[in-house]
Symmetry: D2
Subunit: 276 residues, 4 copies
């Protein structure tokens, strides 16, 4: 389920990719549904099921404002939390600003927040220096990818900190002075460990993956080399169209005249490949 | 200001492009700021200045759920309007559904709406058959591009309809039975005709355009051919970083270890070119 | 927990109230926190835990737009649902309109919705004629009070409908043609049966109730007769002030000059008793 | 238009009220529509028309979280501003927290905000010590009542500060070091001076006032003494019902059985008088 394609591109760079591959993770439907919309649902679900936390009035820092961060921030803000964002990428940082979030470093804000949520796809985001400054009762969880965002072994698996398993997926980490930090799913993905994933989103992801495999299998010799490709836009649109009846959504059809004006086919693809 | 690059690609397809060109419109900063964020501000501003309309409880149909449509819908919904969306592209349609908008055809909804807003970049979106079904008092405006979305000449410039200019940019079009439709800016762009554009957004657009020109001018021979290019990601990020101090935003810097893990430079570009 | 004071006023009307009583339910803190804010949290929690439903794009009808309905609608809309409201009270109906919800009768909308949520404090809101028109898969639950909003015995406990318990608090009710309606908690309160109530909200409610009892006990003879009273505003404000440190909220203090201008004490009460 | 009834109650306390009066300002329709919903619309309109300010990413402090403050905060947050609240009343402060706003004193936050909006109904909210700490370019305006919230004469009408009228309703106040603060409408009500008021809201207010006058005129001798009364709930509901057709809203009618269960008439009043 964790579709981060970083390792695929690294394999390719090293010349070790021996078959054609499709980067399904960066197709529009996958990006928006599996990442943005799904996380918007599961951040709420995962936190409620594990901690029963009330969102109203809580101060939360979300590390990373990619699709996962955007979905998480939108849901938390909508339910009354006060959300801060950390970012390394100036484009995403500027988007966070325009969406109404303060962009700040983790060190500046860590003392006052009630929750820390990592959504970076990177590693060692929350270090011991941050844990030491958290308030007692602060909740820490990972929505990003794999379990590297919080470096457990070096940071929290030390002799002076006591671990107490209070219920499945919920550990209290107790400092010598009695301070408790609440770690969810031992830093693994909250959305996969502690919440359900809507079957609708799984259907989109599975359809995208199946179509990618069919395309690779059926493609005439030479269309794909030992490289990484994005899903053809037309297929991406087909995946979406298969899921519209769920919402009783009624598409408008281009007239011949309109299609000609836009210089595209009436039946798509409707946007250039890079469109998101 | 109207950055739609359709004609540029049509020129290129016909082999009539005689110099390298940058499609600045589809750079991330331009797309998100000039289109999404700017329209989110100016749809509200433009409608208020021209019509003093109250948004609460109003039923609105927005044609097109690209960046302009997304921004317009978000603002109108946030201020209490009930918003419906029309779309031709199933991906954008599915996004509209997930964002909480009914996707429906114009013909189905036209009788009950208080406002019609076109954001398609296409032409002849609102035809005479739609105008004839509108309620008296319905407001019609265009946020899309140029002035083709509403076909004035064939549709509204007819002898049986009377035009009354009630104030600058506001025409009442009067049907023989007394019904009035309120047309803004004669179907030209509302955001450019009837609202101000934030200087911040102009600064982003202008910076993007200036950097693109500098890049084209300075590039070594052979880097760019007679083709259309997207702005290099690195420059897009540079534009964003120049605008962060406005919001007192504090970027986080990658550690060497993190940059290595991601396989990127500490100083960007941080995302692949197709990322939005 | 169900604080509806209707029966108390009926008792009083009949002259059967033999001691003074405080209608704590209608104190501001109780109304807003136990009803509005708490339900905003628990509607999401209760639906996720029982059904794993995705909110994005779902069509929902909420019956009743009092505090409970307002909280439920706000949360569902914020998470991407399309929400319709039914109301009997024109003031609440007008508020729903201004907040961006279509006000409609249950009969008009029942065929197209994915969820029905009752928040009326009344009875027999969803009748057999509504159940018969629902789509297969429609979820029905009660956020209102007691278990009267859905008349189970006369409506769903009939021989031609089969009940299947699919997990705790979740019944599928199966029509002869195979249609399934998903009933939660057998029509009892979803927020109490299937979600947790934030301890913060319980603390507010319990503090309000304790202060009311202390006031009744300590009051000098004659202050309270055999009647129903609202909690004195001053105590209501005291309850709130005790809970502000949770959010690290910093109150502003009136200057002597400002208090004099307003004609109130610097230490409250700050609003007239009817203020909400 | 400024309906603050403080002076009316002060008159009554002093025994100087010589006729019966209705406090129309605190009827539900007036409170919610003229104050909450109207200000939600006009804060956006007033700021755009005077300053063309972009809301996205702006830091704003709103002084006072009554109905006017609630409406202003909701609109600004919805359009991407980061909003802080100051309050004297712990109940309103707690509501601000739950709605996702940091509650803080003006002195703590004044250095970092881009806008200061007063909504208190009190006086001398923004003092010289605050003005001196503002950033250059900070916008200051009043949504509260009359023009007392900002003490111009003692605070800004001093010799070392230069006033520059840059357009109607917009003054730059220039500090000796060149810092400029942008004062709107000389501290008078922004919503009345610089934005239009929706005719719908005026209709509600006027209907409420007319009905109150008719009631006072028609009432049998003895119904009203030389005191201040709230509008009878039934009339408040009538005002609302007259305005529902604007939104094509369809009320549900109570059945006889339901009305009996609730102990009320089928035709209202539907709520106790103190309900808001």
């Amino acid at each position: 389920m964790d579709g981060n394609p970083t390792w695929l591109y690294q394999l390719s760079k090293k010349g070790k990719l021996c078959i054609p591959a499709m980067n399904v993770n960066d197709s529009v439907t996958k990006q928006k549904f599996d990442n943005l919309y799904c996380c918007k649902e599961s951040i709420v679900d995962g936190l409620k099921r594990t901690t029963d936390v009330m969102f109203g009035g809580k101060q939360v820092v979300v590390c990373g404002y990619g699709e996962v961060g955007k979905g998480s921030c939108a849901a938390l803000k909508a339910l009354g939390a006060i959300v801060y964002v950390t970012e390394v990428d100036p484009i995403c940082a500027l988007q966070a600003c325009m969406d109404g979030f303060r962009v700040i470093t983790l060190t500046e804000i860590i003392r006052q927040v009630d929750m820390v949520i990592t959504c970076t796809g990177n590693r060692n985001i929350v270090g011991r220096e941050h844990f030491d400054k958290m308030k007692s009762g602060c909740i820490v969880c990972n929505m990003g990818h794999s379990n590297t965002e919080i470096d457990l072994v070096n940071v929290l698996r030390t002799t002076e900190l006591k671990w107490q398993r209070v219920r499945p997926h919920v550990d209290h980490i107790v400092w010598p002075d009695g301070k408790r930090v609440i770690l969810l799913a031992e830093g693994r993905l909250l959305n996969l460990s502690c919440s359900t994933v809507p079957s609708f989103v799984l259907s989109i992801t599975a359809t995208t993956q199946a179509l990618a495999l069919i395309e690779l299998y059926n493609a005439p010799d030479g269309r794909y080399k030992q490289d990484i490709y994005l899903l053809p836009k037309k297929m991406d649109e087909y995946v979406a169209s298969l899921h519209l009846p769920t919402f009783d959504a009624h598409l408008t059809e281009l007239t011949d005249d309109q299609a000609k004006y836009l210089g595209i086919s009436k039946y798509g693809p409707f946007k250039p490949n890079y469109y998101r």
